[in-house]
């Protein structure tokens, strides 16, 4: 008997007016897995992600989280137990770093002292100096620091699942790389199940265990990077060509300069 998926999509559809944003998609995400959903803008990848915590409601099909049909779960309770990292942070500008991080535990009614301790723990986890950052407002942080706070906030209520909506898209390459690696190790250390949206195949290959490719609302392919490279789908191959070319060019350029 196969173990039940942490998140399961079965024949899920969602339309906005005449646009089929998600079209008969089935996808299982196992416990502990790091899955990247890759696709261009308008491919339906963000819609697919948001269906999982009911920020968007599906028109058809079934979505399960930890074995439960999400339709049978109170959406607010569901969101509180799933971490969510927003594009460019989504931090509340009027709340301090500590208040932002502690928001979900506060909504769950946890005592203040426990929240404060948890915030310190989380800031350490995402490698932010707590003395320097705790009481600052988001506007006083760099983009990378903001996204670290965003990750800390998503983890605050000790979720088993984290959904990430293009979390590192707006960052400079160095910060992006460091943050990706840091998150990847958190994912492993905390035993999380992570679904990350990205339009960047290179990022997906570097971070994820498995990649799902979306195009025009359809799930074109899913599998490990190696499995995907065996795909016959033209769009999938096109997506994989970019990182390959980058690697080739980088190798060529780096060996040239090394020889010089």
């Amino acid at each position: 008997m196969p173990s039940r998926p942490m998140i399961g999509y079965a024949h899920v559809t969602k339309s906005f007016g005449s646009l089929r944003a998600v079209d008969d998609v089935s996808l299982d995400i196992a416990e502990g897995e790091f899955v990247a959903i890759v696709g261009g803008s308008g491919s339906g990848k963000t819609t697919l992600l948001r269906l999982a915590n009911r920020l968007i409601e599906a028109d058809g099909g079934t979505i399960t989280v930890e074995g439960e049909d999400v339709q049978n779960v109170d959406p607010v309770a569901l969101r509180r137990r799933i971490g969510y990292v927003f594009q460019s942070g989504g931090l509340f500008p009027h709340l301090s770093v500590a208040d932002n991080v502690g928001i979900t535990p506060r909504l769950l009614g946890e005592p203040g002292a426990a929240i404060a301790a948890r915030v310190d723990e989380l800031l350490e986890l995402v490698q932010l100096d707590r003395a320097a950052h705790r009481d600052r407002l988001p506007e006083a942080l760099s983009g990378g620091q903001r996204q670290r706070v965003g990750v800390a906030r998503a983890l605050a209520a000790k979720p088993r699942i984290v959904l990430m909506d293009e979390p590192f898209g707006a960052l400079d390459p160095l910060t992006r790389d460091a943050l990706g690696d840091d998150y990847r190790s958190l994912h492993r250390k905390l035993g999380l199940t992570t679904v990350m949206i990205t339009h960047d195949m290179t990022e997906a290959i570097l971070l994820a265990d498995r990649i799902a490719v979306m195009h025009s609302g359809k799930l074109l392919a899913q599998g490990t990077p190696a499995e995907l490279s065996n795909s016959t789908d033209a769009y999938v191959l096109e997506l994989l060509r970019t990182p390959r070319r980058q690697v080739e060019r980088l190798n060529a350029l780096l060996s040239q300069s090394g020889a010089a």
Binding site: L55, F86, Q87, F92, P93, I103, L107, L108
Partner: protein, 519 residues
């Protein structure tokens, strides 16, 4: 003599705690009520375009109603409401003063709060509302923890605008019986006491400016998320409110309240009545500047205890009579009619303040005009000016009917300016008052009324229903009855119309007191 050594400044200053305290009290209550109504409305309608549009349109319409009219409208409205609640639930409330002023001002404050509330809430980055939902907030938590705090600077800007409007408009609540800084302006205008007018304007402007700056500090603090600024502003507002309210707090009840309408003679007479009561050992205050239609209702409801009215005015406005009777008969009939409403007509003061058509003496002689009948022949080439109510009063209709008067043009004017206007020839005829001292000063003449179209206007002293059996009050007032003849009153009015330190109603009342032999 320097400008500020004028004793009227210190006179004005002595009223400041009372006027300012009441001004702040009514403004604060109005703002609080306006906010309590419009903020929830803004929240409820922010995502519903149709009701939002209707609400904003209604608030805008309210804004286009002139402040004075809005305030004046609330008086009869509340009067009717009070009658209804009395009939249905046995509960009565005062439709006078604080309540109508607060309600009208609250209505006035709604537009900026509504508009900024909706704008502020709709202007929030949708990504943040999504984030609020994503971290597990309910719609209500999102509103309280995210949307309202983020919209606060914009809402605060609306509150700031509303506060300035309310403070400015509150000066107009004097005629419906709410003491305010407007008391300076209304009294000053009526008695040509420019020091009072200036003082009232300065005081309300400074108050509005101070509140605006302090709320601006709070708004800036919220915008820049600076707790220091926000805190300083809040402390400043609290200190301002405390400083203006505390001096008048815990003041004992004011005893008898003497009402006065909005012209100089009434200011002088109410001061005289107050002095008379105080001389008899009764505590009394004057409440002046009440609108002519408000004051009778205020007496009936017991909001004021006594005031001077004129027999012809009540005859036409309260009894709705258009026929004319001889003086004594009219007063006797009036007394009976008022007694049915439990209002005591204590007696006449001894003079008459009737409407009269007034022209310059020289002009009258040149044209050979002595009576209104003579005037009628020339009327089609002449212009006439009257006070704000004259042309809608039955006397004017009666005059036109009796003499076939048809003037070339008619204008409305501030009563105190009419006499100068007719003396300078700016208008040809005015509907003046027989007891006005300016008739003699400007060498004018009041034309005879041979067909008796204008009813008699004896000054009469009225007491509120609740004072009907108050013999102590009645005994204290009786010495004044029949003591003030027309010459004395004209001279008193002329003094009050002066523009110097001796023209304040209090000083003139003291003179009148001496003149009639300290009764």
């Amino acid at each position: 003599m320097s400008l500020f050594s004028d004793p009227r400044w210190s006179d004005a200053l002595s009223h400041l705690p009372d006027y300012l305290g009441n001004h702040v009290r009514v403004s604060l209550a109005a703002l609080a009520l306006g906010l309590a109504v419009s903020l929830p409305l803004a929240i409820l309608t922010r995502n519903r375009p149709a009701p939002r549009g209707i609400l904003l349109a209604l608030a805008s319409i309210v804004q286009t109603v002139p402040g004075l009219a809005l305030l004046a409208l609330f008086y009869p409205l509340l009067l009717a409401a009070a009658a209804l609640t009395l009939a249905w639930f046995g509960i009565s409330f005062s439709a006078f003063g604080f309540l109508p002023a607060m309600l009208a001002l609250a209505l006035y404050s709604m537009l900026p709060v509504l508009r900024n509330g909706i704008t502020g809430l709709n202007g929030i980055d949708p990504a943040l509302i999504e984030a609020a939902e994503g971290v597990g907030m309910t719609a209500r938590q999102s509103l309280v923890l995210v949307e309202l705090p983020l919209a606060l600077p914009v809402i605060m800007a609306g509150i700031r605008t509303a506060a300035v409007w309310v403070i400015g408009t509150a000066t107009l609540s004097t005629p419906i019986g709410q003491t305010s800084l407007g008391n300076y302006i209304f009294a000053g205008l009526q008695t040509q006491n420019w020091v009072f007018v200036l003082f009232g304007c300065l005081a309300s402007a400074l108050l509005a400016l101070a509140v605006d700056q302090l709320l601006g500090l709070i708004e800036g603090g919220l915008r820049r998320r600076s707790r220091l600024r926000t805190g300083l502003g809040a402390v400043g507002i609290a200190a301002l409110v405390a400083a203006t309210l505390v001096p008048t707090m815990g003041r004992s009840s004011q005893g008898y309240v003497v009402g006065a309408k909005t012209f100089a003679e009434q200011y002088v007479l109410s001061a005289l009545l107050r002095d008379r009561l105080q001389a008899a050992g009764l505590s009394a205050t004057a409440r002046s500047g009440l609108g002519s239609s408000v004051i009778f209702g205020a007496l009936k409801a017991g909001d004021i205890d006594l005031y001077i009215d004129y027999s012809g005015t009540l005859w036409a406005n309260q009894l709705h009579r258009t026929d004319i009777k001889p003086r004594a008969e009219l007063i006797a009939e009036l007394k009976t009619a008022l007694a049915k409403e439990n209002i005591t007509l204590l007696g006449e003061l001894g003079f008459e303040n009737a409407y009269a058509l007034v022209i310059p003496k020289k002009r009258a002689e040149a044209l050979g005009i002595r009576t209104i009948a003579d005037l009628a022949a020339h009327a089609s080439t002449l212009s006439i000016a009257g006070d704000y109510e004259f042309f809608s009063r039955p006397e004017w209709a009666a005059l036109q009917k009796a003499y076939g008067l048809q003037f070339r043009a008619q204008r409305q004017m501030q009563p105190d300016f009419m006499y100068a206007a007719v003396a300078s020839g700016e208008v040809d005829v005015i509907a003046g008052y027989t007891s006005d001292g300016l008739i003699a000063k400007y060498e004018l003449v009041a034309l005879d009324d041979p067909r008796q179209a204008i009813p008699p206007y004896d000054a009469i002293l009225l007491l509120a229903p609740k004072r009907a059996g108050d013999t102590r009050l009645q005994e204290a007032l009786k010495p004044l009855l029949g003591k003030i003849d027309i010459t004395t009153m004209r001279e008193a009015n002329l003094r009050a119309a002066g523009n110097d330190a001796n023209s304040s109603p209090d000083v003139v009342a003291k003179w009148l007191w001496e003149k009639v032999g300290k009764p």
